[in-house]
Amino acid sequence: MDDLYRDYILDHYKRPHNFGEFDPHDLEALEHNPLCGDELGVHIRVKDGRIEDLRFHGHGCAISQASASIASEELKGMELSEVGELNADWMIELLGIPVSATRRKCALLNLKAVRGAVTGDNAWPS
């Protein structure tokens, strides 16, 4: 079994959850990974201060696509204030694989986009 490319990572990569776009949506963001030119966008519907539903779109590597897919399930129903508090460790832990320094941005691109859409702060999660 490969350390990085575990079965569930490849599953999420090949069959991502909540992939696509939808209209109308309340919040959106589009982010790029300067390293590879990958892009990842999110559409979010908000109800009662929580993420009611979300979709992500774009293209990226297995790490970035799996991160977005796995996170999308956790993010549904989350309070917006809580989303603003999410950090890099949350994402890496959720991903459950050892992420090297060079692949860290791949793993964090989705969280950057989601936090940007919700809080307007599109800094890289730390």
Binding site: K14, C36, G37, D38, G60, A62, I63
Partner: protein, 412 residues
């Protein structure tokens, strides 16, 4: 096996880094398009200079300073001679990026204005694109592009048509594309530019390390290349320029070393090439680069080109065995430099690079500093394997084996 083994150079032992092991495995280095490994003679020449001959240049009267002066001047002579350049018009820069910024600043600002056009190509590295974009924005000029066709090549007809519009002041293009590998017809292009009254600028970063280059014969007004891709040190690039144009141009960076005399309110510039070398230059790097071109000269650039062509042909042949793999750029090895950019269906290029690293194989993945070209090709990124003088057919075999293993991990 194809006749690859006979035509490869067999010089891996000249490069100490290949003595290293990574988790017990040999280093399979296929990223020479990014930077080349260094032969022992280059490492030793630079160390020897620092150990025994180090002093600043152009100032000291003592014996050691004269040694440093002599070493620096001799390095420039040897580097210029390697590509048929004149030492007086051979300027040391930091890299090609700085060389092109120098041209955009010192030539472009004075000669490109509103209503003028700068013509580049869709296959340019950001180094030969962003400086022109900035210049055109600043000066109210238009930036136009020669298109890349489905074979990864430019069209001389389009070049003629663009030049016929009469507004092109400057044409800039790569000798060899760092993504497609395409070898552009430099002499034909510079002749057309000259006939149309436009100045030509060639980015030779990928060409000088792997084929004979004679800057005089190529006819470009300016030709830039970089040391570290040509088995030399980082931190040193080379710009060859037309003497008449360089004489007319204002300096790029100002300060020490590039002046003839300074008083409190005025200054006069030093003679060529020093006018364009402000501050302490990369002295040890120049010495290292001279050793590098000496090494390449000894191998013989015709032989280096034959080696690269033969390995590239072998690489294209072997890559075709991998299901779902698509190579971009010219299909024939004769028409390309020693690299292949490719995509593998079902695996993102980043993952391709990560997967082959498990087999000890170093390749690059990403947009290769050519994002506009990536959009033309309809891909976000590619993986790129590029060869150097030290590579052997077995390195390509290792790449193909690692790609096959990667496809298995991805269950393709």
């Amino acid at each position: 096996m194809p006749p690859v083994a006979e035509s490869t150079l067999g010089v891996k032992a000249d490069f100490p880094i290949f003595e290293r092991r990574f988790a017990g495995r040999e280093l399979i280095y296929l990223d020479s398009g990014a930077t080349a490994q260094k032969p022992r003679v280059v490492i030793d020449a630079q160390a020897e200079h620092l150990r025994n001959h180090n002093a600043n240049v152009h100032r000291g009267v003592y014996a050691l300073a004269q040694e440093a002066d002599a070493a620096y001047d001799e390095a420039r002579r040897r580097v210029a001679a390697f590509v048929g350049g004149d030492p007086r018009t051979t300027i040391f820069t930091k890299n090609v990026t700085e060389a092109i910024n120098l041209l955009a600043y010192s030539y472009g600002r004075a000669n490109v204005g509103p209503g003028d056009a700068v013509l580049i190509t869709q296959m340019e590295h950001h180094a030969n694109l962003v400086p022109w974009q900035v210049l055109c924005h600043e000066r109210g000029a238009e930036l136009r592009y020669l298109e890349v066709d489905e074979r990864g090549e430019l069209s001389l007809e389009q070049l003629d048509a663009e030049l016929a519009r009469g507004d092109v002041k400057l044409v800039a293009f790569a000798h060899v594309s760092n993504v497609l590998g395409t070898i552009n017809p430099v002499a034909e292009m510079t002749a057309r530019a000259r006939d149309a009254g436009a100045v030509s600028i060639v980015d030779g970063a990928q060409a000088v390390p792997q084929m004979p280059v004679d800057v005089a014969a190529l006819g470009a007004d300016f030709y830039g290349w970089t040391g570290h891709k040509a088995v030399g040190p980082t931190g040193i690039g080379v710009l060859h320029g037309s003497e008449a144009l360089l004489e007319r141009m204002e300096p790029f960076l100002t300060g020490g070393d590039m002046i003839a005399s300074v008083d409190f309110q005025s200054v006069s510039w030093n003679e060529l090439p020093y006018k364009f070398e402000a501050g302490t230059p990369p002295i040890a790097e120049a010495v290292g680069l001279a050793a590098a071109v000496g090494y390449l000269d000894k191998l013989g650039m015709e032989r280096v080109r034959a080696h690269e062509r033969s390995l590239t042909a072998y690489m294209l042949e072997r890559l075709a065995e991998v299901p779902g793999l698509r190579v971009v750029g010219p299909p024939e090895a004769e028409r390309r430099g020693g690299l292949a950019s490719f995509t593998v269906e079902g695996i993102h290029p980043h993952d391709v690079a990560e997967l082959v690293d498990r087999g000890g194989v170093c390749i690059r993945a990403g947009h290769h500093c050519a994002q506009p070209l990536m959009r033309c090709l309809g891909v976000g990124a590619t993986a790129r394997a590029s060869v150097g003088v030290y590579n052997e057919a077995s390195d390509i075999d290792a790449l193909v084996h690692a790609l096959q293993a990667g496809r298995e991990i991805f269950e393709l």
